[in-house]
């Protein structure tokens, strides 16, 4: 800065608001932005389709159309195998909406407008995260309801069952952070849509969600068996149906924490730079 050559106008030195007020306003902003997202979703039939109708269709499709041809060795048959998988898959797949919405708001200039307002910069991302959590929770509960209607039962007690649902939601939120980064970095709604096919499809479909990994060719098994969505699904199956919990619990925790640790800073950085 070449301040030496500038005129002698002395800018005002205005202290920022107190921490307590900033905190109160920050919380209020996150609540407002969450409400805003929810309202947008309710108005958007496309969104209802993606978060409710599509997962339900998947559940029914695999339960009644493909399921008969997929041999599984779990007590309760294919529907018992399917439900933890389809819950995790839908939660993760649904996070794709995060990328599209962020790219769209960025492209339209909505986010620039927010950034020119006296609002904590983290509020936009946090508001979306809270709204996404609610959305994923609704999706998960609807699928569970459909699952119960088509013969699925928790075989391992209610508490592990609830933990399984929570784990599904946590998986969805974790993948949402990847999605947020993609949306903010790519910045273009169309490009995000096409690019999404490249990462979210393999991640959610090349997994143990619908079929046993052992039915895939060897080269694909190497990926499918070790990728995070499969690891979490195995843990969810063990919670819902009974089985050894410890190994997959550790692996799940490490994967989820690792993804959050990498993609939250990346998303925040992309948000700061996007203008």
């Amino acid at each position: 800065m070449t301040t030496a050559t500038l005129s002698p106008l002395v800018p005002l030195d205005i202290p920022g608001p107190a921490v307590s007020q900033r905190l109160r306003h920050g919380v209020a902003d996150v609540v407002s932005l969450t409400l805003r997202e929810l309202l947008i979703w309710f108005r958007n039939p496309f969104f209802i389709f993606f978060s409710i109708v599509q997962p339900v269709m998947f559940t029914l499709l695999f339960r009644y159309v493909f399921g008969g041809a997929i041999p599984v060795s779990v007590h309760g048959g294919y529907v018992a195998y399917l439900m933890p998988g389809v819950i995790a898959q839908s939660a993760a797949f649904g996070s794709f909406g995060t990328a599209i919405a962020l790219a769209r708001q960025l492209q339209k200039g909505v986010i620039d407008r927010f950034r020119a307002m006296p609002m904590a910069r983290s509020a936009v991302l946090l508001g979306r995260l809270v709204a996404d959590t609610l959305r994923i929770t609704v999706t998960v509960l609807v699928i569970l309801g459909v699952g119960y209607g088509v013969g699925f039962r928790f075989q391992n007690g209610v508490v592990p069952g609830v933990v399984m649902l929570v784990l599904g939601v946590v998986l969805g939120i974790t993948i949402s952070t990847v999605s947020a980064f993609v949306g903010l970095a790519v910045k273009d709604e169309e490009a995000v849509s096409s690019f999404g096919l490249v990462w979210i499809f393999p991640l959610t479909f090349v997994s143990a969600a619908f079929v046993p990994v052992s039915s895939m060719p060897g080269w694909l098994q190497a990926f499918a068996a070790n990728q995070p969505v499969t690891i979490v699904i195995e843990e969810m199956r063990a919670l819902a149906l009974g089985g050894p919990l410890v190994l997959h619990a550790w692996q799940s925790a490490l994967w989820l924490a690792g993804i959050v640790a990498v993609f939250v800073p990346l998303a925040v950085r992309a948000y700061r730079r996007a203008s």
Binding site: M1, T2, R43, D112, A116, M117, S275
Partner: protein, 337 residues
Amino acid sequence: MTTAQRWEGPAIFVEDVYKSFGDVRALCGIDLVVERGKVLGLLGPNGAGKTTAVKILTTLLQPDRGRALVEGRDVVRSPAAVREIIGLAGQSAAIQEELTGRENLEIMGRLYHLDPDTRHRRAAELLERFDLLDAADRPTKGYSGGMQRRLDLALSLVSHPEVLFLDEPTTGLDPRSRLGMWEVIRELVARGATLLLTTQYLEEADELADEIVVIDHGKVIAAGTSEELKNRIGGDVLEFTVDERDRLGEVAETLRALSEAEPTIDAETGTLTLRVGEGGSRALVETVRRLDALGVHTEGLGVRRPSLDDVFLALTGHGAEEPADSPHGRRRAGRRA
């Protein structure tokens, strides 16, 4: 919160600001001063640096060099303090199309931490003032372009900003909606807002701004009131249209001696423009005589005061409005509206 400090300087103060994006130099040493309660028209073609200047003043971008103050608050050192007192509107960006006009305003009120009563009242008041009451509870997706711009402007006013930035508020609007937008902006100005308005339209700056700064390629190339800028050209402009386009060159040649500068030919419309200085009527008589001798048929022959379009042409050597994104009628609407 800030009552202890008063700022005696100008509402907007920009000094020697530079901004580059990679190799592209968007701003190359811009100076701007806007006194409180005044309207500055920042005029220039697409890519001149107008939006970059607005983004720096609204804390969305940081300048590479130089200084920008809004009501005495430095945009780099106290961006939060700047955001407290500004409003930003423009090309309907803040509107969420799934939501109704009222919902958009209500959420904006929430984000400015207004209490529920104030929020509802403010939304109702702005809807009425911007003639949106009838459409208030319909999703904004169905609003016309003009309605969306009005709502966008209303959204930027929820917090009673001291300084308002309007980035091309009428770009892409049809002439009638643009006139409506002008009305709304004029009323704002009458209430004493400090306004920085960017525009590609000369007559928009002419209509709304107290002072005009013309920028091109990131530099200020002229500044002053619309009158001052017109006086720069000095004297009158003589203009007419020739039906026989192929004779335009011949006609220009014949009349060159009457013009203080090279005659301007618009081959597309067949319009010839001469800068005839103070001797407007003498030049008119002489022109008629010479055209008659040539046997050329003309239309709309007359002498007028220079428009900002003439000024822009004289300053930059090219027109103000980029042909790339100019829909039919803009030019005409622009000139005569």
